[in-house]
């Protein structure tokens, strides 16, 4: 086998491997999508049916029973609200840690990350009681605050890993020209990091959009986002796979479309920083 042939074979094998992984990852979404067009009986049939007469009945039922727009709007407000708030806190934090590291910066970063290791249920009761006492139960404000705190460590870490790779000389030059720290962040660091900030924001939005634990525990009817709507289609006594799939498809659709448009930034974001 010549070197050229070897290279070709390697490319084919790598491609094949990548496609296999991609298909395995995509399969549950594909299955959810086609199940949403089945009847309940087709949805549970064993062996599963791949070819069937599609029906829109499940979507009609979901539309009839749930106020999709209300739930979707709650998801949009909480995801975007929490992401914006997290960025407002994280950009200055990451800036100071990246450009003015102290003795304990690394420890602080690790400590921040360690809060992600605590199971959420461990703090459920105190947070629930705080929300009750401040009248925040079933409010979007509570979800925005919780989502912000939940994603803050990841947002700070992502931004920090990008900021620390920025050449310090640029900031020094700006300072020579009389830039204040505010100018440095707003006029130098942020414009240089648009890709990093947008991919971090996108990741944060996706994480908020998919969050279910706090959404289910802290909301009832007014502030319930799409994850709560999906949960309402599970039934202890009755068939529900097709309707659940339709609700899930409707819930996933906006964020999948949004992600599709932003995939360039997402890929860029996932490859920046330490592994660049």
């Amino acid at each position: 086998m010549t070197l050229n042939q070897q290279r070709k074979l390697k490319t084919i094998l790598t491609g094949l491997f990548a496609w296999t992984i991609a298909l395995v990852l995509f399969f549950p979404i594909f299955w959810m999508f086609i199940t949403s067009f089945k009847t309940e009986l087709q949805a549970i049939s064993i062996p599963p049916t791949l070819f069937f007469e599609p029906t829109l009945e499940n979507f009609e039922i979901v539309q009839e029973r749930s106020d999709y727009i209300h739930h979707a709007w709650n998801s949009v407000v909480t995801s975007f609200g929490a992401t914006i708030l997290a960025l407002i806190i994280a950009i200055p934090a990451a800036y100071s840690m990246a450009f003015f590291p102290g003795k304990r910066t690394k420890d602080i970063l690790l400590w921040m990350l360690s809060t992600k290791m605590l199971p959420a249920v461990g703090v459920l009761v105190p947070i629930y009681i705080l929300c009750r006492d401040y009248g925040l139960l079933d409010s979007r404000t509570a979800l925005v605050i919780i989502f912000t705190l939940m994603n803050l460590p990841i947002v700070v870490w992502m931004l920090f890993s990008y900021f620390k790779d920025l050449p310090k000389e640029i900031l020094e030059a700006a300072r020579m020209d009389g830039a204040t720290p505010w100018d440095e962040v707003v006029k130098v660091v942020m414009p240089l990091s648009v890709g990093a900030i947008s991919s971090t924001a996108l990741l944060s939005i996706v994480l908020c959009w998919n969050e279910a634990f706090w959404s289910l525990n802290l909301t009832a009817s007014e502030a319930a986002p799409l994850t709560a709507m999906i949960a309402s289609y599970s039934s202890p006594e009755g068939l529900f796979w097709a309707k659940l799939s339709a609700a899930s498809t409707l819930a996933c659709a906006p964020i999948v479309i949004f992600g599709w448009f932003c995939q360039k930034q997402l890929v860029q974001g996932l490859t920046f920083g330490a592994v660049k």
């Binding site: 079933d138 599970s234 039934s235 202890p236 006594e237 068939l239």
Partner: protein, 439 residues
């Protein structure tokens, strides 16, 4: 001057009248938490009728998965958050929460006709004679079987057959090569999953959860016999992967024509006889649950009921809603709107006396018989200190039942022996009861 005073007075009176009228029409919003079961969805659809009859009340619905609902409403009621005004609870919670003062007593005065509610259901939702949740629909357990398969195998199934006979029928019907399994039963771990079935079965073997001193009894011969029989029956004649099957999985298998028999909640009868859902709708027969040494506790009793938390700020509106949703008139409304086969059953004697219902629901007689034969206050052969057929209505039972369910599910999956499973379950139950200060 006099005229001015008169006019001013007239304005003042009319403004006051308008304000009081406005305040009397101020809308009260109640939030109802429920599960996604068919009957609840129908209630949701019919709610505009309630709102029409009660112009000052608006109903908001929160539908949750059963486990999440249980967690959320417990959190809400224990912390007195007042997030929900009406909550769907079960027969397990009602007496416990009633005792703790977490629920308001249901207003049964006037034309509500509480005496029409089936006595066993009413008893299960009461604490010291006061009903703390109104039954929306009730259920027991019974045998549902394929008449065609059983007949073809030259067998028959009757009320209160012995477990040995059920095993013989399962063996005769079992034909895995054609995708037909003799019997489908719950195997998925959980106090409301496999343990609901297992407890009723064990009751019929003469077992009980606790003795008179609250000592767990899982290592007794009765439990060993029952669990050994169950594991043997399902391993030989059950579908593969039974240890992960609960109501919905078995329902799917039965509706697909893959089960010769299925012993589960009576509510399943309306699904398996519905041609839209079931491939075997016209071939289903019903019989009372099998027994071993006693009929006591051989079939379970459960009710989905509507309770009003003590912390609600809209008690009057909540009471009105609960009385409406659990009334005879509501059942009439569902019957007239969606047909009599779709009415919520298992709550009122008048439903079963209705000729239209009798005609529409082929399972009516079997269901009523099952519900009436279950007595949560006397469900074990030997005396026991607890209320409940397939559970013990004490706060510790959820954890104890779920641990036992995991062990028995493990025995069914073959990861441990029945003796090991019951020994571990008993040890865990003993620890929980000791910690809770029962002895």
């Amino acid at each position: 001057m006099k005229r001015l005073t008169k006019n001013t007075l007239a304005y003042a009176v009319s403004i006051t009248a308008a304000m009081s009228a406005a305040s009397s029409f101020a809308e009260t919003q109640i939030t109802v938490a429920t599960v996604n079961n068919g009957h609840m969805i129908e209630m949701q659809k019919l709610t505009p009728q309630f709102e029409k009859a009660n112009p000052g009340i608006k109903v908001k619905w929160v539908t949750l998965e059963e486990g999440v609902l249980r967690q959320n409403v417990t959190q809400d009621i224990a912390n007195k958050s007042g997030l929900y005004d009406v909550m769907t609870i079960g027969m397990y919670e009602a007496p416990i929460w009633g005792e703790r003062g977490w629920l308001q007593a249901v207003d049964t005065s006037g034309n509500y006709d509480a005496n029409d509610i089936l006595p066993s259901i009413r008893g299960g939702l009461s604490y010291k004679g006061t009903m703390y949740a109104a039954p929306f629909y009730g259920e027991s357990s019974m045998v549902m079987y394929r008449k065609d398969l059983v007949k073809a195998a030259g067998m028959e199934i009757n009320d209160r057959d012995s477990w040995e006979h059920i095993r013989d029928v399962a063996a005769a019907v079992n034909d895995p090569s054609k995708g037909i399994y003799g019997i489908c039963l719950r195997g998925k771990a959980g106090w409301g999953d496999n343990m609901a079935f297992m407890t009723a079965m064990a009751n019929s073997f003469g077992a009980r959860w606790f003795d008179e001193n609250w000592k767990p009894q899982l290592e007794t011969k009765e439990w060993k016999d029952a669990v050994t029989f169950y594991v043997d029956l399902l391993t030989k004649y059950g579908p593969p992967g039974s240890s992960s099957n609960s109501f919905n999985e078995s329902l799917a298998l039965f509706n697909e024509g893959k089960c010769g028999m299925w012993i589960d909640a009576t509510i399943a009868a309306s699904f398996v006889t519905d041609p839209k859902q079931s491939k075997v709708a016209d071939q289903v027969g019903f019989a009372q649950s099998p027994i071993s040494v006693t009929e006591k506790g051989a079939n379970w009793l459960w009710a989905w009921a509507l309770g009003i938390p003590a912390a609600t700020k809209n008690a009057d509106a909540a009471q009105k809603f609960v009385r409406w949703a659990t009334s005879k008139e509501y059942i009439q409304l569902v019957g007239n709107t969606n047909g009599w086969a779709a009415v919520p059953t298992g709550t009122r004697a008048s439903t079963y006396q209705n000729p239209k219902f009798q005609k529409a629901a082929v399972f009516a007689e079997a269901e009523l018989k099952a519900i009436n034969s279950a007595n949560p206050n006397d469900s074990t052969l030997k005396p026991s200190p607890y209320v409940g057929v397939q559970f013990a209505a004490i706060p510790e039972f959820q954890a104890i039942g779920t641990t036992a369910g995991q062990m028995i599910s493990g025995a069914l999956a073959g990861s441990m022996t029945v003796d090991q499973a019951l020994k571990s379950a008993n040890k865990s139950a003993d620890r929980q009861m000791r910690q809770a200060g029962y002895y």
